[in-house]
């Protein structure tokens, strides 16, 4: 691992003052320490933020507020989260392993780096890791890669389950830097790779996530996160569906839907949401509503199964949710 300067500030202001270009914030360390060992991330400065007061899981009339340093396992076990935002608890519970969930923070999860094997292997070209070197995944083994939001420069899948559920629920991210605080929608927080896949989000150098707010809604309590993967546990998604529905009797009044495992960022599906609005919860309606889910997809040589698997994942999530009503 390369040398870095290391600090452990106790105040947020102190932390963002110490941070700048070439700085990595250390929270749970499950991504950062791994990628520093692999020489994929080589920050000149590491700022340990674990002593900052960025904790708390609070429910109020605006919604659910989660401090950036809350750990995945604690949020998954929170009674309010499980009752009012079940898809968040499920997405967390289906992520990683128990040990990693005990370590990894919510802020860090949103910044989790892709599991693309070429990104993680410094001996291969990767435009995300080293801009301009090319993309080894395009002609390499790309079974787990993205089909939506890809570009000729990058096809890396966004790895987070949590972010998929949070994007479906219209979550906002709170940020702080030396220039002050700002709040951005999580959907807009993430950037598509385009010709600059090294730019993954709107964070400025040294800017820090302090927490998130998931708005109160009529649909979050009726929600499910379904994850399809090669192993039953401890594996990233091939496809996943975060589905929340507001019911009026047997009719879908409105739906919020996002997909994981398929996009270069958590993939909201507004067309599917619209196709379900005002319709009865029947198998025919589900089948027809998800027809457009993979529109615009660019399957790669090894992941041609993903568009169909995505549609089936969505239908099953909708069915599970309708049956549990």
């Amino acid at each position: 691992m390369r040398a870095y300067t290391f600090t452990q500030p106790r105040a947020v202001r102190e932390a963002v003052t110490q941070a700048g270009t070439d700085t990595a914030f250390l929270a749970g360390g499950t991504t950062l320490v791994d990628l520093m060992k692999l020489d994929v991330m080589t920050p000149a400065r590491v700022v340990d933020i674990n002593r900052l007061p960025l904790r708390g899981i609070k429910l109020d009339r605006d919604g659910l507020h989660i401090g950036a340093l809350e750990r995945m396992s604690d949020v998954a076990a929170d009674r309010n989260v499980r009752r009012d935002y079940p898809m968040i608890a499920q997405a967390l519970q289906l992520s990683a392993s128990a040990q990693l969930r005990n370590m990894a923070s919510i802020g860090g999860n949103l910044l989790q780096r892709t599991r693309c094997g070429y990104f993680r292997d410094v001996s291969t070209p990767c435009n995300k890791r080293e801009p301009g070197t090319g993309c080894a995944a395009l002609t390499g083994i790309n079974r787990t890669h993205a089909i939506l939001g890809t570009s000729d420069a990058c096809v890396a899948t966004h790895p987070s389950d949590l972010a998929v559920a949070l994007v479906a629920l219209g979550t906002h991210v709170h940020l702080v830097s030396g220039r002050g605080t700002r709040t951005v929608p999580l959907d807009g927080f993430y950037a598509l790779p385009g010709s600059t896949p090294d730019v993954e989000n709107v964070l400025r150098p040294g800017e820090l996530i302090t927490g998130i707010t998931v708005p109160r809604s009529m649909w979050a309590a009726n929600s499910v996160y379904l994850k399809i993967r090669d192993r039953q546990s401890y594996e990233f998604a091939l496809t996943s569906a975060a589905v929340a529905i507001e019911w009026r009797g047997r009719t879908i009044r409105s739906a919020r839907i996002a997909a994981g495992g398929v996009g270069t960022k958590p993939w909201r599906l507004p067309a599917v949401e619209r196709a379900l609005t005002g319709r009865p919860a029947t198998p025919d309606v589900f089948e027809s509503a998800v027809r457009t889910a993979a529109d615009g997809a660019r399957p790669l040589p090894h992941n041609g199964f993903k568009p169909a698997l995505l549609r089936r994942t969505l239908v099953r999530a909708l069915t599970v949710l309708a049956e549990s009503r």
């Binding site: 390369r2 040398a3 499950t30 791994d34």
Partner: protein, 201 residues
């Protein structure tokens, strides 16, 4: 004769040969990555950090390079080699220890972040000669073959039971999925945990 008989008779175990257990305070900063250390000139430019940590009930002070993991500190500085280095990438669970009572991966934990915290390793589980119920159950149920993953399996299993999530075999399998056993002892591991959680309650 098995190795523990040998150790008992001679009064020498691998651990005591290696240097004395958790109470020893070591002042030599360990370069990050253990054997695959950074070049010496680069390592020397990093300022060591003093860490006061309780390991298996004993207060310990170590000076560590801020790049060094808890795993390497336990094994190389404190001679607590029960915690195993498997993948060293957070994927296999062999390095599982408890920090402040929670099961975590010591290979992805920087030693500098456990200052003023309590670490428990596999060496801290038994009470004298009396094995922890989980260790005993792994022996009785043959929950191991080569044994390399076992310290991590046991620490993870104890953590899971303390979290209150070992009520069914399905739940045990799901919540133990972060501990890989390449000998494939999974059925016996599940049986051992199922036995032990009844005793631990």
């Amino acid at each position: 004769m098995n190795p523990s008989d040998d150790a008992g008779r001679s009064g020498v175990s691998r651990r005591s040969v290696l240097g004395g257990g958790a109470a020893v305070a070591v002042a030599v900063p360990l370069a990050a990555g253990g054997a695959q250390a950074a070049p010496a000139a680069e390592a020397a430019s990093v300022e060591p950090v003093t860490v006061k940590v309780t390991v298996n009930g004993e207060p310990v002070t170590v000076r560590v390079d801020p790049r060094v993991t808890l795993l390497d500190t336990l094994r190389e500085e404190l001679a607590l080699t029960g915690t195993k280095k498997g993948c060293d990438r957070g994927q296999c669970g062999a390095c599982t220890v408890h920090v402040d009572g929670r099961r975590v991966l010591s290979c992805l934990t920087l030693a500098v972040t456990v200052d003023k915290r309590e670490v428990t390793t596999i060496e801290g589980l038994a009470r004298g000669d009396r094995l922890h119920p989980m260790q005993q159950a792994f022996i009785e149920r043959d929950g191991l073959q080569c044994g390399f993953c076992t310290p991590g399996q046991v620490m993870s299993a104890v953590g899971m039971v303390q979290e209150g999530h070992a009520r069914s075999d399905d739940e045990i399998r799901e919540r133990m999925s972060g501990n890989i056993c390449r000998c494939g002892c999974y059925p016996s591991i599940v049986a051992a945990i199922s036995d032990a959680q009844k005793v631990m309650r």
